[in-house]
Subunit: 333 residues, 2 copies
Amino acid sequence: MKRNAPTLHDVAKAAGVSTATVSKFLNGAQRFSPAVEATINSVVAQIGYRSNELARSMITGETKTIGVAILDINNPHFTAVVKGANRVAIDAGYTLLFVDTEENQKRELQLLDTLSRRVDGLIISSRMSETDIKTVIDFGKPLVFFGQLETAKLVSICSAGQQGGYMLAQHLVNQGCKNIVYLGFSKSRWDRDRIAGVGECLESHGLSLKAYDAQAPFASEGERLCSLIMLGKDHPDAVICYNDLLAIGFMKEAQSLGFKIPHDVAVAGFDNVPYAEYVSPSLTSVNLQSEGMGELAMKKMLDLLAGRPTEEYTVLDPQLVLRESTSGRKRHA
Amino acid sequence: MKRNAPTLHDVAKAAGVSTATVSKFLNGAQRFSPAVEATINSVVAQIGYRSNELARSMITGETKTIGVAILDINNPHFTAVVKGANRVAIDAGYTLLFVDTEENQKRELQLLDTLSRRVDGLIISSRMSETDIKTVIDFGKPLVFFGQLETAKLVSICSAGQQGGYMLAQHLVNQGCKNIVYLGFSKSRWDRDRIAGVGECLESHGLSLKAYDAQAPFASEGERLCSLIMLGKDHPDAVICYNDLLAIGFMKEAQSLGFKIPHDVAVAGFDNVPYAEYVSPSLTSVNLQSEGMGELAMKKMLDLLAGRPTEEYTVLDPQLVLRESTSGRKRHA
DNA sequence: GTGAAAGCGCTAACAT
DNA sequence: ATGTTAGCGCTTTCAC
């Protein structure tokens, strides 16, 4: 364990050449005589020289690193996004650095600030205001954002939540459901789209929609709100949740309360998290292509970095994934 | 969107003072006359100056950032570790940077190398060889490792997997199970401990243990291996899985095959992931304190960074979390 | 209190 | 093919 790491200078001196030579050679910017190259190589190996990336980045202005800010690393939707982005980044020779912004929403801007200085670009999922987003834009780094902004104009990606909501509602109506409620999470940027789609569909069938609002998109909130939703007079025959986590919690509690799913109440969510398949009954969900969103975000980032043109606003298609919680039939293979 | 960010120099010039003054003031290293301070403040606000952390870090040698390498961000165990570490880091004024090493095990060393150059310390969860770990140690950054190493001497943390295994086995024996198998994941550093604990307990009861090995610690592997385990002659009456994910997959498939859990076969796992509570039947698990591990790792890192003494090797106590998959009774509140 | 000047470790013209 | 020389933006003695 070295205390003072060897510098380019040390290598140059030991190899009897100039720092410029060592620098160029090590960066593959230029070839040198075999003798020189060999000497440099051996010296590097000998003294265990490793370039100081900080100094290097300072000059080149490049870190070969992309920052990804996610809301909650415990949420499978976000981890899937990260997985997708990571894969693309690695293939392109970039490293992904993540920060989890949930634990400290107050410091989110500061966190992004810190992150932005260490990376070449930022991929952000956030609930912050458009004003704050403007601040982030002013950090001056290429930016890819999840979700559509009203005022700010930037590269962004989203899933067609409205269509997803419509699909889900249509499916439930087809199953004979008449009294459908939406268990939402209004703090999220996506909530509005989803409920709008559901509402639009129901309206077209002459049905009305009642909505509840969760404080957090967690299973525990689904559990908490279940009795409120199910133990009033004429309980709903279907519940569409803002996400799968809420739905999973809701299902558990509903079953504890003695309801049969989907017989007494059908339940569905959004995100198609892996666990949707493993709960009982398995959960019908709208696949929003979480991983695909991550991949796409990273691809757009690479476009931005390379100065290639990239579509400003991309919408991914949702897909209904039918399972037992709304069908009662054997789920599709 | 600024192209060239303003520098300390710009601030100094605009404020009519020297760069040294601005630097010292902004870092709170020294007080100046009210007039000067006010001018600097207003100039900074005006031109939107932000310190270049790269340049700063280059000199101070500090980044106020800790790198965390995790095996798979999709695994709830690891995300919990991250959550715990993140909380402690933020409270101490540090930022956490994560990398997911799964996608590219071949490049893991390189990834850690890249990461190590940008952070003050490294917290690592890895399956790499002790030789490779030596290389990481030579990066010269403070290091906290999850898991005990045989040769390398470094600050590390682990859960008492052996005790956890013993507890689980004892519990199943108490429930009357006689034919217990272990569905392991031998590539993991923890697998050996867990099976050892299980084996030790069974041996003390004159029972033998059969073991299977998964290729990955995922639910899909649990599903895949289920028929192999359950459809031979005299199937086991209890299956202890390396982790909850395997157990969840196994349970789903076992139920598809017509087995009742825990009546026909009891199932248990390790990690106590959030979803263990939401599957049916709910899954008995050994709580390894994932979040606590993350917190502790970060605390040790802070000790290291501050030059405080810290226990070299810490073992966290496991706790059996009893649920329906092994008890048949109503689960504990 | 305030500033001049010397670097941190590296890259990038521009020589030679 | 190799070296010289400026910095990058910042901190930090050490003067005044």
